[in-house]
């Protein structure tokens, strides 16, 4: 039954879940920035592997671009590399403040803007982790993610949370993930590779993604076939299972297993971590509210 009609989780529980989104997103994206930071210039600079006009052609015209900053920076004596490093530095600082929940909305907006600048600058090499990183940061700006476990929540002005907004926020997260997984699941089911196990086989046999030898799977084709069907079932079933408190723990377990498997076998650790954070924020249940004192309303 939908949360729009059924008893909703308490506001503090929703606020804690949104804090998971804030802390998890900031922590994962800090790791991502550190992991790619030293190699950023080959992906985003004009003298990189792909020149800037190609990257610019791959993104929407309305997205912010590092190239916008070059003329004023040049006037200040900064070259393109220094602009890129400065942007990365501001990004990591903003993420650190977001992690702590200090002036959460401003630090989230700064993280989002600098992430977009760095992502669009290297659009040709940005993969799924960057798409969901961008989405997660947008939600950190739009949703009340600083209402719990944050520096802001320790200050009197930010100590209350509006129960409706908190519940609506988690509803939006669940709905967004439901749409994403359904779309992905239907696209997978439309082809034959996920139904006959070849997709799992091919993915695990890719040289850059498989840290261990999975060639033995060819002798047990039922296993990749079962894994392929499981992925499709979890993704398509997500939309049906995300809306009941009874099924959410099972769904969360299945999604955790799927993304943990993707991380361990394909080496997509950042992507998986972002997805786990989003799912934890959308689906995780705290201890049941046992009545008594009503949650505070703003």
């Amino acid at each position: 039954m939908s949360d729009l009609a059924a008893p909703a989780p308490s506001a503090p529980e929703d606020a804690r879940a949104l804090a998971v989104l804030r802390i998890g997103t900031a922590a994962v994206l800090l790791v991502q920035a550190a992991a790619v930071g030293g190699h950023l210039l080959p992906f985003v600079s004009d003298r990189g592997i792909v020149q800037a006009p190609i990257n610019a052609a791959l993104v929407h015209w309305g997205l912010p671009s590092l190239r916008w900053l070059y003329p004023p920076a040049a006037a200040a004596g900064l070259d393109e590399a220094q602009v890129t490093w400065s942007c990365l530095g501001i990004h990591m600082l903003a993420l650190s403040l977001l992690l702590a929940g200090w002036r959460t909305r401003v630090s989230a907006a700064s993280s989002w803007l600098t992430y977009l600048l760095l992502k669009t600058g290297g659009a040709s090499s940005a993969y799924g982790a960057y798409e969901f990183g961008q989405i997660a940061l947008f939600y950190c700006v739009a949703l009340p993610v600083g209402a719990a476990a944050s520096v802001d929540s320790l200050r009197a002005t930010a100590s209350t949370v509006d129960p409706f907004t908190a519940a609506l926020s988690r509803f939006v997260l669940r709905a967004h993930l439901s749409i994403a997984y359904l779309s992905s699941g239907l696209a997978k089911a439309a082809g034959t590779q996920w139904r006959d196990g070849e997709a799992v086989w091919r993915a695990l046999m890719r040289p850059s993604t498989a840290p261990v030898d999975f060639s033995w799977l060819a002798s047990a084709p039922w296993l990749p076939t079962a894994m392929g069907w499981s992925v499709v079932a979890v993704e398509i079933g997500y939309v049906a299972l995300a809306w009941s408190r009874r099924t959410r723990p099972w769904l969360l377990g299945a999604v955790f297993a799927m993304h943990l498997g993707i991380a361990m076998t394909l080496g997509l650790w950042i992507f998986s971590a972002v997805m786990l954070v989003l799912n934890a924020a959308a689906l995780a249940e705290g201890p049941k509210y046992r009545g008594g004192k009503e949650p505070a309303r703003a």
């Binding site: 003298r47 190609i54 799924g128 982790a129 439309a190 590779q193």
Partner: protein, 172 residues
């Protein structure tokens, strides 16, 4: 007692927030379906387009779907000082290598292939000032089906395309 969203009592603020959420989710749905809700020939269409791009609501979520494509990589062959140098660009972090692999995957796109190759060659020629020629070799890792593998076929790198570029004498 716990309460449902509808029991919080809907004021103007709540209705506005719910409407904004519904609109956002509708755009997410359009993105997932690979559809553009309003063409960017109008002002409202452009505003929606910018919103979708900034928020990620334009994403189609087609990761590894409908199937898993062959992995690609680029081998650069640079001719300098009367010999060939082979360059396989690699990084020391997994994340950077994933980005490089994503980049090489773009060679599947017909309209980007030549531009990418030219860009890669320019980087190679820039790194080797004495180089006169650069070959950009796009390789694909072909994985046989499980049945073919049991029959003895092996995964292997094959050359998919080769693009050649020569340094032209500077004008003047």
């Amino acid at each position: 007692m716990r309460r449902g969203l509808v029991e919080y009592g809907l004021g103007v603020r709540q209705v506005t927030l719910a409407a904004a959420a519904a609109l956002h989710l509708m755009l997410v749905g359009f993105g997932a379906a690979g559809r553009v809700p309003v063409g960017e020939t109008t002002v409202i269409g452009r505003v929606i387009g910018v919103y979708r791009a900034w928020t990620g609501a334009d994403n189609a979520y087609g990761f590894f779907a409908p199937g898993v494509a062959a992995e690609r990589r680029v081998a650069l062959h640079v001719y300098a000082e009367d010999r060939w140098f082979l360059v396989h660009e690699r990084f020391d972090t997994r994340e950077a290598d994933l980005r490089l692999s994503t980049l090489a995957g773009l060679f599947q796109e017909d309209d980007l292939r030549q531009l990418l190759a030219a860009s890669w060659a320019a980087r190679a020629l820039g790194s080797f000032p004495a180089a006169r020629v650069a070959l950009v070799e796009v390789q694909a890792y072909v994985v046989p089906t499980m049945e073919q593998y049991r029959g003895g076929a092996q995964p292997r790198w094959i050359t998919e395309r080769v693009f050649s570029f020569a340094r032209t004498p500077a004008a003047g």
